[in-house]
Symmetry: C2
Subunit: 503 residues, 2 copies
Amino acid sequence: MSENYASLKLRYLGIDTYKDPIIYMREDCHICKSEGFEAQARVRVTLNDRSIVATLNTIETDLLKHNEASLSCYAWELLSAKEGAEISITHPKPLESLNYIRSKIYGHELKAEETKSIIEDIVAGQLSDINIAMFIAASAGNNLTQKEVFDLTTAMVNTGQRLTWPSNFIVDKHCVGGLPGNRTTPILVAIVAAFGLIIPKTSSRAITSPSGTADTMEVFAPVNLDIPRLKKVVEQENGCIVWGGSVALSPADDLLIRIEKTADLDSEGQMVASILSKKIAAGSNHLVIDMPIGTTAKVRSIARAEFLKKFLCSIAKQFNIIAKIIFTDGAQPVGRGIGPALEARDILAVLTCDKNAPQDLRERALILAGEVIEFSPNVSPGQGKIMATHLLDSGKAFEKFQAICLAQGGMREIPIAPYVHSVDSIKSGQIINIDNRHIARVAKLAGAPNSKSAGVDLLTPLGTIVEKNQPLFEIHSQTKSELNYALDFLKQGHDIFQIEENS
Amino acid sequence: MSENYASLKLRYLGIDTYKDPIIYMREDCHICKSEGFEAQARVRVTLNDRSIVATLNTIETDLLKHNEASLSCYAWELLSAKEGAEISITHPKPLESLNYIRSKIYGHELKAEETKSIIEDIVAGQLSDINIAMFIAASAGNNLTQKEVFDLTTAMVNTGQRLTWPSNFIVDKHCVGGLPGNRTTPILVAIVAAFGLIIPKTSSRAITSPSGTADTMEVFAPVNLDIPRLKKVVEQENGCIVWGGSVALSPADDLLIRIEKTADLDSEGQMVASILSKKIAAGSNHLVIDMPIGTTAKVRSIARAEFLKKFLCSIAKQFNIIAKIIFTDGAQPVGRGIGPALEARDILAVLTCDKNAPQDLRERALILAGEVIEFSPNVSPGQGKIMATHLLDSGKAFEKFQAICLAQGGMREIPIAPYVHSVDSIKSGQIINIDNRHIARVAKLAGAPNSKSAGVDLLTPLGTIVEKNQPLFEIHSQTKSELNYALDFLKQGHDIFQIEENS
């Protein structure tokens, strides 16, 4: 449908709605009037050869002139918009994918091409958050069949970039999340690459946590590598640790996760597709998955872990990926530091075999690295961890880590926070509980992950016997006001440690 | 949690997001920084003694000053906000209702208090559109048990206003929608009230159609009556026809419908709760439901109609409502006019027994009015329609209609559009199909329902044999430019009539 009278000039207002494409138009502009568009209508917005479907918010004031429109930041980016550019606005064609979402809601199994259509429209910004939410709700619980999960994974892989490698023996590692400080990845990649296996690791940044693996790695070296640079690092050093966002593997995954998070929804099927699509897109075919089990971790019971293990392995097999799922303890944070620089410090301590290095972090990294190494046909079962330990203790892993940092753009010093405040115990007794959510909140108030040096340094792990006035943890921050935000939160009575007095 | 540093001054930007409460804050304001708020975060906004949960959109430009925030129109209204007022912003407490939505997604039956909590939070603006969409998806298809529909109806009634009446014999009428021009309500109310039954009718305005019953009735008389005035009209004249929005019966229903519409989702359970909650809130206990069946109507098959009939009657009975479901023909528009004034003209023609009145509209109104009249213990089965016909033909119904209009604020003249354009047939033959969606689009482009006189006047119903150059329909509009919008649409090849040439 060509409607040549339906054009407006773009003006940048800089409204960030995250990944929800919104168009702002005066409610009394000629297009709203002629097309009968009202707030929350879905409209097709075209600029040059690009076109998206956006949700309309109407403006009742003079924020926009009569011939002007604006776009939310994400919509602006999707259309590569420029100030003053002419956009045209029309009614969107009915989306086929909406029929398929409806079909899923009504309990039907989706065909491969139906799932493909939904995922393509999500990535192209054609479906509204409301419609994506409905798809997620219809798929949640245990409502996707194995075939649907296979198709979903395929569609997610095919709508993003893919890495290809000359070798057909590519290893990878993933962690099913939920445990603060669990930064085994940089240590593991260093060990495995030093051993000689190829491990092109992409990691995420924090969404709601004080740090993601990519944020922590960025303390050591640049992580925003494009695909050609990533490939060069891996060719040269066998491994890398880069931010997945810069290489756009499985972009559908990020779009689904952001909606799932708003309702804290766990969908087994979508979790499997999420994990595997990123790994398939990265070109991996041997995968170790760290699955921490604990009451505050993502996986809360052995039964659920066993179910997920079976599900993951079965779908992985269909993509010719050998997956090993390792159950680990998810009861408390790993290491001592929470926040990019403090976590980096723990990693460096383990890599340099510092005698004060957190032993739990070292031990986890060695177990997982050992499992990856055992994918190698030359390594007999049980030998992997021994070889990993040797690579770490001999300094070869640290050498490799330095080389990877150099290849990624140069190794950096770990920054130290100018403000450090120690919080002491008000009584003596034993630490019987640590509140992971409160730790995360304090670390974020102190400035993590945007201030690299900010965060929380835990001094007394679970089970420690403490004296009155003994320091329990430190708050690190870049500015005095951020330190005060964190302290204000604690003053309001949010305890991190539960201490049982000796009787 | 008291966070006294978390306040900002309100500035009105006039951004209309329909019913989605949004707060706009600078991404670099002290609250976003200290609380770690990012775009799409859910935040609690408090002004004086009112408090809502809103979705955060962050501003990257100088649209707002450092100490300023803004609200979408709906959020502004919910908080009774004023320019310059101080709002405080905090993290929202986790919503219990979100757990219940999750539980429904996972396939569990909700308890009465769980449904109550969800509906209360929807009405109070605590749940985001995304979360409401998930609830709708989880309830759609046939996923609500009878008990859940009963609880949902109860919760929807209890979160809005209720009308009470001295009599315990209150009749009402509802149409399951989807048929343009099906405006039997004003005729039926006039007949039934003239007969002597009490019928306090509330109707809706158009959401996506060229006119709602309230829009059409507004051509004759004011419809924005508050509860005391509505009661006075009914006391005096036995009946009324007012806009439901002005009396806030079952406000949850409007909030759910707006999300359902985005995905064109039909949920039997929610439809039953939607219809009955409004009627229970209106204090009705005898209900006739017009259920048009046809391929472009809401109910498309007899099987579905039978299922809905059983469902509606069974839930209605639990609320002591006697419901009669009348299946009617849903194949084509009713009457001739589409748009407020043109529909009003058809209604007036029927009420005044004009010999050119559309007989299909007259016949439907008489059948339905007859069914309502037969609720009366004095009327034997089969007598209702005869009595209705007598009341119409004797002029008593028209007298009553005039009295109701007067009681509602005075009877008005029907406006006539200054621009009328006739569209002629380009060939001779028989009308074999009428595209209801295209008619609606043309009527809206011409200005309906905002311009009362705008719309489409159909001249040749289904089956008519037409000559070449014979007028098929007229476009009515208030302005030349609106007429042109409608004509442009037709020029693009959107036909309304399908004509089969004589062979």
